[in-house]
Amino acid sequence: MSSLVRQRHSLMFRPRSYMAFAIAPQPPVVDWLSDLDASLARSEAFFAGQHVALDLSAVNLSPSAIGQLVTNLEERNIRVLGIEGIDPAKWQAGLPPVLRGGRTARSAEPSAAITAADPAPAPGPARPASQSPEPASLMIEDPVRSGQSVIFTEGDVTVLGSVGSGAEIVAGGSIHVYGTLRGRALAGATGNARARIFCHRIEAELLAINSYYRTADDIEDSLRRRPAQAWLDAGNTLQISAMN
């Protein structure tokens, strides 16, 4: 077991990209905050543990107003990891760092495919077929366990097993679960309103398509424990229907 002896490495910094949800306040900010409160009231933990970037390109705020807005968001348990869309001259110490080069996550370039709370090594979720010209998809042959998070923004995610309570699938495209979906499924996460969620048995904690979501509370009992699909209708309402 000599390989287990910890070796001291020299310090290395590697560039690495992560997925973050950007929220963009609209003027007037006061109204925007009350809209935010209204949606948070429906599901207060929605932003819990999420990486959130603040896109200020639609509003024109002074540094102190930005600081106030960040505080307001923190009071709502939304922790801002960075700010984008401001003139760097407006930044001052104490504010979250300015982010640059952000792009909508539906990029052709292969980025990080899976990030898991407990990243599973070699077996199971394999590398996405990012070299192929076909639409990317990720197939997971094992159950996704509670606490694990599968994030694949390039396309569809197919899970052959079940998705446990407390697990999470985030896909740029559609999500297919051939077992029971007990955790969260967020399809079309990069702004794709046509993505859908299919599962063999629905007991989901949360379903979201293009960030329009429904929690378990809002899913009718008559739909539960059977094959179902979810999609967004023209009015951006998340619809769920049985599939047999």
Binding site: R6, D142, R145, S146
Partner: protein
């Protein structure tokens, strides 16, 4: 070749320590050399359940720190010659365990024993992750209720990612042990059915241990239930589980409370 087993669950109070002791004694019954290790540093219990609390001199942390040699810390069971206990320290906490130290102890035990059973503490923190770190196989102890099952699901995810075997790209063998099962309560819908638990966890079943006063009684007198009452229902279920661990094919039956025809109607076989 020695097998390192971790008995784990995520949730506390589901029967990890009881099962470690019972399976340890069942495996050692035919003279197979077995050691049970208590990883619950600071909240040790296995010594009590094994009835060895008055014979603890050195412990796991002493061995890791080099205060004592491994043979000095091992306690031989008075009833079964081939069964040994490596107790935890009660005065320290989980930070006293180091990855290298645990690796060294396990390696040394692999030389001496056929089965090394690591009794994990509850939770998913240091004590639990170190208990599973070097395991070849895991026994996931689950009660048939939702919180226990979800915690087990989480633990299975950790077993597939945080163990040395998983990091080498191999697969850790996982066995599900359902404890405190009551057929009458399951029939009344007061607890999850065996099928529900198996469906949620999709992990092979090692055994079903019935809820029984005998288990509590055995713990209180400091004896693994497989030694205190080897013919009782829980002991027989543990013996069957131990035989399955050794690779034998033993048919699985759902334990039912023996109350005549009513229960016989509900008796059936599980997968």
């Amino acid at each position: 070749m020695a097998q390192v087993l971790v008995v784990t669950s995520g949730k506390g109070g589901v029967g990890k320590t009881t099962s470690t002791a019972a399976l340890g004694a069942a495996l050692a019954h035919d003279g197979t050399k077995v050691v049970v290790i208590d990883f619950d540093v600071g909240l040790r219990n296995l010594d009590l359940v094994m009835g060895a609390e008055r014979r603890v001199v050195f412990d796991l942390v002493n061995v890791i720190n080099g205060v004592a040699k491994l043979p000095q810390a091992l306690i031989r069971d008075k009833r079964l010659e081939s069964l040994h206990l490596l107790p935890a320290s009660q005065t320290r906490d989980k930070d006293a365990l180091t990855e290298d130290g645990v690796a060294k102890v396990i390696d040394e035990l692999r030389e001496k024993f056929d089965w090394i059973i690591c009794d994990s503490p509850a939770g998913i923190e240091r004590g639990a992750t170190l208990a599973m770190r070097y395991a070849d196989a895991a026994i996931i102890v689950t009660n048939p209720e939702v919180s226990s099952v979800r915690d087990s699901d989480r633990i299975i995810g950790l077993l597939d990612s945080k163990t040395v075997k998983a990091e080498r790209g191999e697969r850790i063998d996982k066995h599900l042990l359902i404890t405190r099962y009551s057929s009458s309560r399951a029939a009344r819908g007061e607890m999850l059915s065996i099928d529900d638990v198996l469906e949620i966890l999709s992990t092979p079943l090692l055994g079903i241990i019935p809820e029984s006063q005998e288990v509590l009684r055995a713990s209180n007198v400091g004896s693994p239930v497989t030694l205190s009452n080897p013919l009782g229902a829980p002991a027989r279920a543990y013996f069957d589980a131990a035989r399955r661990l050794k690779g034998e094919q033993v048919s699985m039956s759902v334990p039912s409370e023996n109350r005549g025809i009513f229960n016989r109607l509900f008796a059936r076989k599980a997968a």
